[in-house]
Symmetry: C2
């Protein structure tokens, strides 16, 4: 088989990106006679909703990843290639790879997702990593744990105070979940482990530029999240924009806060992939797509998930895993039959955010849940959605264990 | 509290290294009134006997590590410091740290262990990493899995054959266990995951310079290990010395074998630490110690484990976790009372090596076990010895799951 030309009678589908959107598209094509190639620069599907748990030493990186080719092992029509895509040649209908021959396609699905955006300050990324990849969550975990280790050896109280101050930027689900998890790590997991300070005295500061946490949720749940975080000891600062981040701290509204560790969870923008096909992009770099998920003006090219901008009922669809997954499945079903895709319509199955070990919010239509019932729903749904029975059982076991003991199994500094 | 001077009435014990020896010494001192400081450059105790499982994607690195300060949390007389030691000043009775003030001691325990030795070819290390640290097992895991990924995209059969050839150097327990685990990965775990080749056709070659595998075990068990590995499809080459290792393969007895992945499991030498105190060293760099574990000529300094050379009944004690742990416990009990240590005597609790999922060898005195009974004994003992109940349950669950399915939960390329 050659990658450079398409030979089969049926059109060959190439999917770039093995996140929720690309994987759902591949799964909808599984077992058909459509030759399908899924290309990703990593060997694994990453369960992004639990990245903050890996960043805060609750789960191991491997617990939230599954090899793409293992998920698709039974689908003999699908080939998985680990390769970095560097561009698309729409005229030749090929995808350029970093190494090796270009990959020919008849239909191309772009699903490369989003990356964190630093509001025009790319230099902040090194100082304030965001929980986005396996690499970055290992970095965050090491920084968090090393700050406590260094505090045990600190020369004076002032140095110790800076080491024990943790700033989380961004009041969306990522920021809320990360701040809550750091507070729990300090207050419960590390309790009694140090001799020269009390880890419960660590300051965790969550900063949000807007007037409320969890802006995408109903106001009452945003207010609840703030109260629940404060009960955990997190300082929530609303209406505070970051002005500067340096190695020793952050500056906001003119005030400098010495903090050895800063975690980023604010805005996102479309990943590489949008630029490959030209087309119309919004200010977050997303490709404007048609309701059938095609990229206007690009024959045979589709885009979906966080990479794509599609309005529904006048508002852009949010950058959520379930939007990407529904779009991928919708497109995959159409590509399977060869018929043009019908217009896509998103149906929310509910949004969740977790504040702590026993607190969460859940909203679906007019339904609002908070506290323990929402936490339990969150835990069940997320374990169910994890791919691989072994991972489900291991994660469930770790959560049950942690629920009762507050211990974390992955306190590993790299 | 100042680290720079010792102030308490009782002598202060400083232990360098949180492996089996240093940790056992600290545990024997736990709860006493002896001020004890355990220094390690990492934050965790590493369960080295299972490193090969992390290298071959069976377990996550976090599964085989536990934070040292968490193990010792209840021992209020023990302070754990994460710091890199750079030397010892025996005259001033201080330990030099990479950052910060020197650390004063009254009694010093050196337990920094061993590193792999490349027989005078340090340049081989980058080409043939050894499963010795969290960092190196991640590297080995990535190389193993990437070789299979690259094979799916290989241009021709010759390139693919090199990518699918894995050479393991050294026929001791590490080499035997690693070769067996790679063969199982290829034959069972990856079965059905690739479209362009059959992973079971991967070549796994185990090279040993001596005439028999597992030289430290009775001959019959070495022969059994060879037969069991061959039944798994491993090519065992005895009496073969490595002459060269380059990026594309190895040369042995004049024959060049193209192989993208080479794993080292041959000789070891004492880690940094031996040179700090001078004293008599053997050719593997170990410090010759007295039967009471003290370093002759160095007042108040002890050495133990893989760093130390001690003969018993005319033969040097082997570099085993249980030797280090017994020495650490023996010394810790003496330091607890303040009495001079009595001569140490090693009592073997049995040696094991694992060949595959259902095969192992075990020897204790005249007892020899092999096959499934030895495997079961190995599994029970190793789960029992893992520190932390959560880790025990997670590892046990993963082993049970893997025993029946051959799946591996940590197929993560970094």
């Amino acid at each position: 088989m050659s990658d450079a030309t398409t030979t089969s009678a049926r059109p060959r589908v190439v999917i770039v990106g093995g996140g929720f959107g690309g994987l759902a598209c591949a799964q909808a094509l599984a077992g058909s006679d459509v030759e399908t190639i899924l290309v990703d620069q990593h060997n694994h599907h990453l369960f992004q909703p639990l990245l903050y748990q890996a960043a805060t030493a609750a789960l191991s990186p491997a617990d939230i990843t599954t090899p793409l080719r293992h998920i698709l092992a039974q689908a003999k029509n699908i080939t998985v290639l680990m390769a970095k895509v560097t561009g698309v040649d729409p005229a030749a209908k090929t995808v350029r790879l970093e190494t090796g021959d270009p990959l020919a396609y008849d239909r191309l699905v772009l699903a490369t997702g989003a990356v964190y955006s630093y509001f025009g300050h790319p230099e902040w990324e090194a100082k304030a990593p965001a929980p986005k990849s396996i690499h970055s969550v290992r970095e965050i975990r090491s920084r968090l744990l090393t700050a406590f280790e260094d505090a045990e050896r600190a020369k004076d109280e002032e140095a110790r105070r800076g080491l024990l101050t943790f700033v989380v930027v961004g009041g969306g689900p990522t920021g809320v979940e990360t701040a809550g998890a750091i507070a729990e790590l300090a207050r419960w997991t590390l309790k009694g482990d140090f001799r020269r300070f009390d880890p419960a005295k660590a300051r965790v500061i969550l900063m949000e530029g807007g007037p409320r946490l969890l802006a995408a949720f109903p106001d009452s749940l945003g207010d609840y999240a703030k109260a629940a975080l404060e009960a955990l000891g997190v300082e929530v600062r609303l209406g505070h924009d970051v002005e500067a981040i340096d190695d020793g701290g952050v500056t906001l509204n003119g005030e400098r806060i010495p903090a050895a560790t800063v975690v980023w969870g604010a805005g996102t923008r479309a990943a590489e992939g949008a630029a490959w096909v030209g087309g119309s992009q919004d200010k977050a770099g997303r490709i404007a797509i048609a309701p059938d998920l095609s990229v206007p003006g690009c024959d045979g090219i589709y885009a979906l998930g966080d990479l794509a901008l599609l309005k529904q009922d006048g508002a852009p669809l949010p950058g959520l895993a379930q939007v990407a997954a529904q779009q991928g499945a919708h497109l995959g079903r159409a590509l399977r039959t060869g018929a043009p895709p019908t217009p896509f319509r998103y149906r929310s199955k509910g949004d969740t955010a977790v504040i702590g070990r026993r607190a969460a919010v859940f909203t679906l239509g007019r339904l609002r849940l908070k506290g323990r019932p929402a936490w339990l729903l969150w835990a069940i749904v997320h374990v169910y959605l994890l791919i691989g029975f072994q991972q489900r059982s291991v994660v469930m076991l770790q959560w049950i264990w942690r629920y009762f003991t507050a211990e974390r199994g992955a306190r590993l500094i790299d």
